[in-house]
Structure formats: structure tokens, C-alpha cells
């Protein structure tokens, strides 16, 4: 059989695997990576999973394994993960007829040729990512995206396959048995709630869902789940996927490592968060019509509780970092109580659209066509400079400082940013 096949390639335990590229002392031992502010476990090595450590578990609950089981702990090193991800994606792009990035560690790739040729290519993808970049991947190949996801699942859970599963080359009896054993909730796009409702109709395994009546599924659920049924039967109906993201809003909220209590410090927070959010908006090519600022004290603290929050309706859809920064700072300024210990804050941009509004309204007593305040150009310049000289090279107001301020994210167990910071290159002994 010749034609086009769909491969789903993903990196095993992505964050942990990135840590292991430069730190081989992390091999063959339990490793966990923590969320922002070292709060809870967001990624685990296989050894950590085998210890029974769950994802989302608070750090203090797993801390004891550091003594008893030689558990290694790392803070999230986004700079490293982003760089390794970019390398994997670039390499994948060289293999396929098409390539869609689905998330930081997952891609769909189109592969041409007969089944044996495709199996060879899939094995090459796996070995070259391991050799050239140093992270392990699994490759699942089938005729649709949903089935490629399933094949990837099979590759991941059957060590004897060597990390590659081409579904159409599998023994049909074995395949049928796996499909009758794997729950329907393991199918791409089937959530827990849907799974419970399906189970109520007697649809529990992948085999059950594959055999379900598409019209019935459409009537009882949605056209989306009907598509899943078609895809399980080899009929391609899911088009290009967009990178997973929250469609409704761009949010930048964080807990501070040390409390913020002065107006100046809060201005700094709002200024930086607003610019981060604006940059993300620009990257996605969208415009916001609503700005929300918020801050909060700790629920566990003794002092005064305060949870200021307000929304500012923007005069027109915008992504202008200067405008958004000014508004965020001003909005919070009038709300916060000085002398209160704020432990988190955030800027949320919502009401997103793909085009800017028509009329430029007069916001700061300037003319609508004020050439000194041309929003899109400014954000472009800021972005250009950031791209060329690094994210810290330019910023507005207080965001333009090179030193991380005291309240920035807590990352006590962070490894070096080996590939993006000249001062943090891996050290090799001669």
C-alpha cells in the first residue's frame, strides 16, 4: 500500500528528557520538574511515575523521596525546553511532506511512501532526534491523526516496539485485542465527561467507539465526536490543527516569590506582565478589547485580605504594548492598598479578535492620528529588538531592566539555561 500517512511524534517525558541532555547524572533515577514557583509536580521521569508520584502533586509531598529514593528535583527551565523543542521541530520539518506543531513536544508529520518505507522513515526520525539532539521520542503512524495518536500510545506502552508503531503493519489480532482493552477516554479528544456518558451507553473501549453508529454519536454528543468515530475508521476529517492554546484569552498571572507591598513594586509587576501578555498577543496575531488586572493576598496570611481586580474596556481592539502597559499600571494603581502583602498578580487580555478596530479613539488627550503613538509599529519595533538582542534588551518603563526583580518567579531548583544564556553554558572538564 502506498500513499500518504500521518505520523504523531512526541518526546517522552519532555521536560525531564530536556534536563537529561546535559545532566547525565539524572539518567536511570527518578526526576520531577516543578511548576511555576516550585509549587507542584508538572513532569515526571518513568522512574518517578513508578514510585507512584502523580502529576500535580504538591512539591512538599514528594520531598521525602529525595532522601529515600534519590529523587532529583528541577524547577521549570522554560528557556531550555523552548530551545530543545525548536530543534526537534526544525529537524522534524526535514522529514515530512507537511508538519504541524501541536504542542511544545508533539507534532503531526505527513509521510509518503509504502508501509515498509514509512516504517524506515519513522525509525530514522526516532534515531536522528536521539543522536542529534539527545531526547527520546515515540512515533505512531497511521492513516488519520486520531489513529496516529493511538499508534503513538501503543508505541509508548509497548517497549518491544522500539518506540515506533506503524499501525497497518501490526498483527491484526494483537491490534484488535489492544483496541478492546484501551479505554475510549485514551482516544484523542475524548474527555473524562464524554467518557462517562459513553460508558453509560456501553461504549467503553476504543473498539466500542470505533464500532459506534456515527449518526447516533452526532445526535447524542456533537459533530466533533462524530468526526473522531470517522477518524477511528480511517476516514480523514480533522484538518490542520492549531497549536494548543486558550482561544478566549491571553493570560499572564503568577505568584510572587516575595510579597509586593509598595506602589512602585506593583507598577513594576503590572508593567512587565502587560508587556508579556501584549507580546503573546502579537505573536498570535490578535487584538484584545478587554484588559483585566488583578492582584491578591495570600489566603493563609494573617494580615489584611485584599483582592483588587478591575476591567478596562479598550477603546478599540489593540495589542499596543505601550497602551496596555499604561492602562494596566493605572488601573491597579487606584485599587491596591499599600502596606498589604500581595502574593500574586495578573494581566488578562480577552475579547480577542483577528483584526484591529476601525477608529482610533482619543485616550490620552492626543489626536487619534497622533504619529508618535502608532500602536502596531511600536510593538513591531519592540519585538524586532527583542528578537535580535534578547528579551531583556528592551522594555517599557520598569520592564526594561536586566536584573530579575525580587518578586519574580521562584525557581530554586533550576538547572542552567545551557543553550540560551552565554553565562550558563554547560561546563566540560578538560
Amino acid at each position: 500500500m502506498s500513499g500518504e500517512h500521518v505520523a504523531l511524534v512526541d518526546v517522552n517525558n519532555f521536560y525531564v528528557s530536556c534536563e537529561r541532555v546535559f545532566d547525565r547524572s539524572l539518567m536511570n533515577r527518578p526526576v520531577v520538574v516543578l511548576s511555576n514557583n516550585d509549587g507542584c509536580v508538572v513532569a515526571r521521569s518513568q522512574e518517578a511515575k513508578d514510585l507512584g508520584i502523580g502529576t500535580g502533586e504538591p512539591f512538599f509531598k514528594v520531598q521525602r523521596y529525595m532522601q529515600t529514593h534519590n529523587l532529583a528535583v528541577r524547577s521549570s527551565n522554560y528557556e531550555l525546553y523552548g530551545d530543545i523543542s525548536a530543534r526537534v521541530m526544525e529537524l522534524l520539518g526535514r522529514f515530512g511532506t507537511w508538519h504541524e506543531v501541536y504542542s511544545i513536544d508533539e507534532s503531526f508529520v505527513g509521510l509518503e511512501g509504502g508501509l515498509e518505507q514509512v516504517r524506515t522513515t519513522a525509525a530514522q526520525i526516532r534515531s536522528s532526534i536521539d543522536r542529534l539532539i539527545g531526547v527520546p521520542v515515540c512515533v505512531g503512524v497511521s492513516s488519520t491523526k486520531t489513529l496516529a495518536k493511538f499508534a503513538n500510545h501503543v508505541a509508548k506502552h509497548n517497549a518491544n516496539l522500539g518506540g515506533v508503531c506503524v499501525q497497518d503493519l501490526m498483527d491484526p489480532d494483537v491490534l484488535a485485542r489492544i483496541k478492546s482493552l484501551v479505554p475510549a477516554t485514551d482516544v484523542w479528544g475524548v474527555g473524562r465527561k464524554t467518557g462517562a456518558k459513553l460508558a453509560g451507553m456501553g461504549i467503553e473501549s476504543i473498539a466500542d467507539l470505533e464500532a459506534a453508529d456515527p449518526m447516533l454519536i452526532r445526535r447524542k454528543f456533537s459533530v466533533v465526536l462524530q468526526r473522531t468515530v470517522f477518524e477511528l475508521n480511517g476516514q480523514r476529517c480533522i484538518g490542520p490543527v492549531e497549536e494548543r492554546r486558550d482561544k478566549g484569552q491571553v493570560m499572564f498571572t503568577r505568584s510572587f516569590s516575595s510579597p509586593v507591598r509598595t506602589r512602585e513594586a506593583m507598577e513594576e509587576v503590572m508593567s512587565i506582565y502587560a508587556q508579556k501578555a501584549a507580546a503573546r498577543l502579537a505573536k498570535e496575531g490578535r487584538y484584545a478589547s478587554l484588559l483585566t488586572v488583578m492582584a491578591g493576598t495570600s489566603r493563609f496570611a494573617q494580615g489584611e485580605a485584599s483582592f483588587p481586580s478591575t476591567q478596562v474596556r479598550l477603546p478599540k481592539p489593540t495589542r499596543d504594548p505601550i497602551l496596555l502597559t499604561r492602562l494596566a499600571v493605572a488601573a491597579m494603581n487606584g485599587l491596591m492598598h499599600t502596606g498589604v502583602d500581595y502574593v500574586r498578580g495578573g494581566v488578562i487580555l480577552s475579547g480577542l479578535s483577528d483584526s484591529p478596530g476601525e477608529a482610533q479613539l482619543d485616550l490620552f488627550g492626543q489626536g487619534g492620528n497622533d504619529p508618535e503613538h502608532e500602536p502596531v509599529n511600536v510593538s513591531g519595533v519592540v519585538q524586532d529588538i527583542s528578537a535580535r538582542f534578547g528579551a531583556k534588551a528592551i522594555g517599557l518603563g520598569r520592564a526594561g531592566i536586566a536584573q530579575a526583580p525580587a518578586w519574580s518567579m521562584k525557581r530554586e531548583h533550576i538547572s542552567q539555561r545551557y543553550t540560551t544564556e552565554w553565562d550558563e553554558l554547560p561546563l566540560v572538564k578538560a
Partner: protein, 138 residues
Amino acid sequence: MADAQPYVPEGASQGPVQAVSAMGFPSPARDYFDGGFDLNRLLVKDRVSTFIMRVGGGSMQSAGIYDGDEIIVDRSMPVRHNSVVVLTLNGQLLVRRWQIDGQRVGLLCDESTLPVVLAEGDDVSVFGVVTRCLHHVR
């Protein structure tokens, strides 16, 4: 001082000069100039497989690698006898000369005249081949 004029060498034609822009004479090499050397292009064969590391220690000076230098490491290069490689030995990153003698592998540095032959229990993996050294001239 008179208004700034483009420099005209003695004996040059005083007739009408073509193609003088407000910025001065156009360079005769203009059409051949494409922005100077791009070190990324010259030193990095493939961005995907290239990593930069910093050297600590002076035992590889015979290979031209000194304490504090940065080295360019390419994971796509084949490892041959005498290649200078970055490797992990029992969890530590090292730069050494890779010596192949039949089935046996040895690691060589300046300090010893004989390579350290790897033993059965050693946990070794090659990270990549060193292609360049960015030496700090002091």
C-alpha cells in the same frame, strides 16, 4: 571648515560625476557585498545538532583547547580514532581524545602519555565531536 564634501583624490576627473548620492560615493563592490561574515554560518554546520560548552581545566592544550575557552560541539559528526569529543563518564562531562584500538576504547589527554582504557563498569556516552574552539587570546 567648508561644508563636508565627498573626498576626491587628486587627479580624479573634475567632470560631472555620476552616481554620487547624498551618502558619498557608492562602493564599487556594492553588488558583491552581502553583509560580511556570518559566524553562525561559518562555524555552525547545523543549528539543530550544535551546542556550545565552556571548558574548565588545562589538560587538552595539545588540542588547542585552554581553560575558559568555549568549544563548539556537533552531535552529527562521526566519532573516529583521535576525534576530540565531549563525553559523559560516570555522569561528568569531559573533553578528551577518543582512541580506538580494536575493540577497546581509550580516552587521552595531555597529562598522560597513555590513554585511560575504559573498563566494563564505566558508564560512558559520547555527547558530540568538538569542531571548533573559541580561544580567548589574553
